[in-house]
Amino acid sequence: MTNTQIQAVRPQPAAPAPVAPKPSARDRGSRLLAALFLAPTIVGIVVFTVVPIAGSIVLSLFHWNVIDDPSFAGAANYREVFGDSTVLVSFRNTLVFMVFAVALQLLIALVLALAVNGRMPVWLRSVFRSAFFFPLVLSAASISVVMKYLFNQDFGVVNWLLGLVGIAPVPWLTSENGAMTAVVLVYVWQQFGFSFLLFVGGLNNIPKEIHEAASLDGATGLRKHLTVTLPLLSPTLLVASVVGIINALQVFEQPYVLTNGGPGDSTRTVVMVIYENAFEQLRFGEASAVGVLLFVLIMAVTALQFRLSRRFVHYQ
């Protein structure tokens, strides 16, 4: 090894750390003001998110039925959860639901956003925006009650309409595939308005010049959307898919009211299992263990999305 090389690898004496200038009284005042404004949100997050999560983790290590004092169970609740076929099926159902619901929701929202964003009178655009967003402000439980009537195999309007075009009654809520399809459809109908609004906002942010440049280069409608619109909309797509997946993994009201998890366990979701364990069977420890697993799943899926987004998301 030459001297030059030795010199090259020899650690250089550390440069003195830059001394941060002492904040002025004005800076301190600004920081205090910022802290004051942030405080309610931080307190809210700590009280209503961090503490319940921590509480759930602790509770998942105990047996507790509300009536008696909790008793330490160690990992017993987790062992029970992993050995419970209903819990495992509920995770599978939730993932299947998530895939179909989110894909359909994003697709419908994107197509409608592109349509509304096209040449259309402003008043008509407003009408569509309101109409598509409207289901989102309604209670999921009340919507599901109404949908239960509509999807009833014997007396429902949906089968009556299908009957008009010669289609035999579909067992929407009483067959495994029919029930999951109905739950997905009801959920998507209610939820796509959120993604739709995000996409409308995202489309408005794409500079017209880029589309014009693409047109000059000879790009036609579909090609323009595939090569210009979608890449530039990818940050919005990421947000919509992250929020959509987190919401879908926590689906509860629609399957609970529409099918009560049936037939069999075919539409039983993870949050339903948490609810049933805790509030029907008084097994708060097991319910918390399932809750913790769901939390881990959501974190993992979200982290994976952000990881993959590095390849597919383009920021202007």
């Binding site: 039925n65 509300v66 009536i67 009833n152 014997d154 049936g262 049933e276 029907e280 069977q281 008084l282």
Partner: protein
């Protein structure tokens, strides 16, 4: 070693922060746990009675409170009408109140929760019943022993039943006429029932379902199990209870009575259970009835009153419901559940359970007695929204306006079939019910799926029954 020159001022500042944090932590640790009872106005020293909200509207609550106030002006009463979809939802909300430290003194509990409350939360009423025996003699003489026995647990009485509903069969006259069928005889059989459904189907359009039934513990598959001489869980009786039977019932009526029901061993794979499921699967295959999940109770009154359903099992509560839906007394009628191997029927009853956490147990007992009085029930059940537990309240005058013509069926279900019993409701009832609903759905997908589904039901029931609540 790091260079850590703390200035005196910094040291003082951190010291002050530390002292402040320690003071805050100390203050927080010394506080009593904050509960719902700390909310102003929550604990006003009233006797709190939790009832199932939808069944107790403002008028009913006023009736209860005003009448009680006249009898006991010294006891403050608050009726807490808990809004809930069904009994299981109601119990969940009561347990949440208990966990929050705002437990009511009394809870209106149906058969589904009698044993759960008795085992974990309830106070036996034995000492008060014995003490006030003279006052209660008239009540017990008016109430069928089966209803009382359904409110007993391990030899003690936990509630005085005020209402019940047996699964009798409602028939729509308009549909019967259309099918050219006559009203069935009291001893009609399962085969008569099937033939009637076929006649109804033949004479009606595609938008018609002869038999409508729901997938739940009460009124679903269970009445068919009873009719076929079996049950979901093996049924036996706890010892004891002689103190009550000997004191209040004549020898003929106390024969065979015990200290309350025990439902212990699951028997979903019993041949008769499979037979009952097989029968229901055959009705579905033949398009003579809804699938159980499709037959939710919410739209039942609507489809029955408009002639889109011919027959359905329901209790006396339907007389009020159909009347509200616009049906006249002559538009429908009620008959016993059809005979199969037996004509034993099922019922569910309800009354007020006293909670151990109550600090007003004497006042609560006064309310229990008041709520079981005939004049109270007369005022409360004026619209026939249920079947009163008191036999003397079932009169022609009561049913003249709402119907049905055969209103005697409601109480005769108990009097003429004394082995008629409560739905199987052990302390683990919530899980038992969930297992029943889940596997009934899959069992009835086809006749071939009955056996495998019942085997899974048996396994799940065994797990459920092993669990301590």
């Amino acid at each position: 070693m790091t260079d850590s020159h703390l200035t005196r001022r910094t040291l003082l500042r951190y010291g002050a922060y530390g002292a402040g944090a320690a003071a805050l932590a100390g203050t927080a640790a010394s506080w009593d746990r904050l509960t719902g009872a700390d909310i102003p106005g929550r604990d006003d020293d009233s006797l709190v009675v939790a009832t199932l909200g939808p069944a107790y509207g403002p008028e009913a609550i006023r009736t209860l409170t005003d009448g009680f106030k006249q009898l006991h002006p010294d006891i403050k009463l608050r009726i807490n009408a808990v809004q809930a979809v069904d009994w299981s939802d109601f119990f969940a909300k009561i347990l949440t109140q208990i966990a929050a430290g705002t437990a009511p003194d009394l809870v209106y509990v149906a058969t589904e929760g009698v044993q759960l409350f008795a085992q974990r939360l309830g106070v036996a009423l034995d000492k008060w019943v014995k003490r006030d025996a003279a006052e209660l003699r008239e009540y017990f003489a008016d109430v069928h022993p089966s209803l009382v026995e359904s409110m007993m647990y391990e030899g003690s009485l936990y509630q005085l039943p005020v209402e019940f509903n047996a699964a009798d069969m409602y028939l729509n006259h308009q549909v019967l006429q259309r099918a050219g069928a006559s009203f069935p005889a009291p001893d009609w059989t399962r085969d008569d029932f099937t033939a009637l459904l076929r006649d109804m189907k033949k004479s009606s359009g595609s938008q018609f379902t002869p038999y409508f039934w729901t997938n739940r513990l009460w009124g679903g598959v269970v009445p068919w199990l009873f009719a076929n001489g079996t049950n979901l869980l093996a049924e036996s009786k706890a010892p004891g209870g002689a103190w009550l039977w000997d004191g209040f019932y004549p020898a003929a009526e106390r024969q065979g009575r015990g200290g309350g029901f025990r439902w212990t061993t699951p028997q979903a794979t019993d041949a008769r259970v499979e037979e009952a499921y097989d029968y229901l699967a055959s009705l579905i295959q033949e398009d003579l009835c809804t699938r159980p999940e499709g037959g939710n109770g919410q739209n039942l009154v609507g489809v029955f009153s408009t002639g889109r359903v011919g027959v359905t099992p329901a209790g006396g509560f339907w007389a009020g419901g159909l009347n509200l839906a616009g049906m006249k007394a002559t538009d429908y009628d009620v008959q016993y559940f059809p005979r199969w191997r037996t004509q034993r029927m099922q019922f569910g009853a309800a009354g007020y359970a006293l909670l151990r956490t109550s600090k007003r147990q004497e006042e609560a007992w006064e309310f229990i007695k008041y709520a079981a009085r005939k004049d109270t029930l007369d005022r409360l059940f004026v619209t026939n929204q249920t079947t009163p537990a008191r036999r003397s309240m079932l009169t022609a005058a009561r049913y003249r306006e709402t119907g049905p013509n055969h209103w005697q069926v409601f109480y005769d279900t108990l009097d003429k079939f004394p082995d008629t019993g409560p739905i199987p409701a052990p302390p683990q009832v919530a899980e038992v019910e969930q297992v029943l609903l889940k596997h009934t759905g899959t069992a009835l997908a086809s006749r071939r799926s009955v056996g495998p589904a019942l085997r899974r039901m048996q396994s799940d029931l065994e797990k459920a029954m092993e669990r301590d609540v």
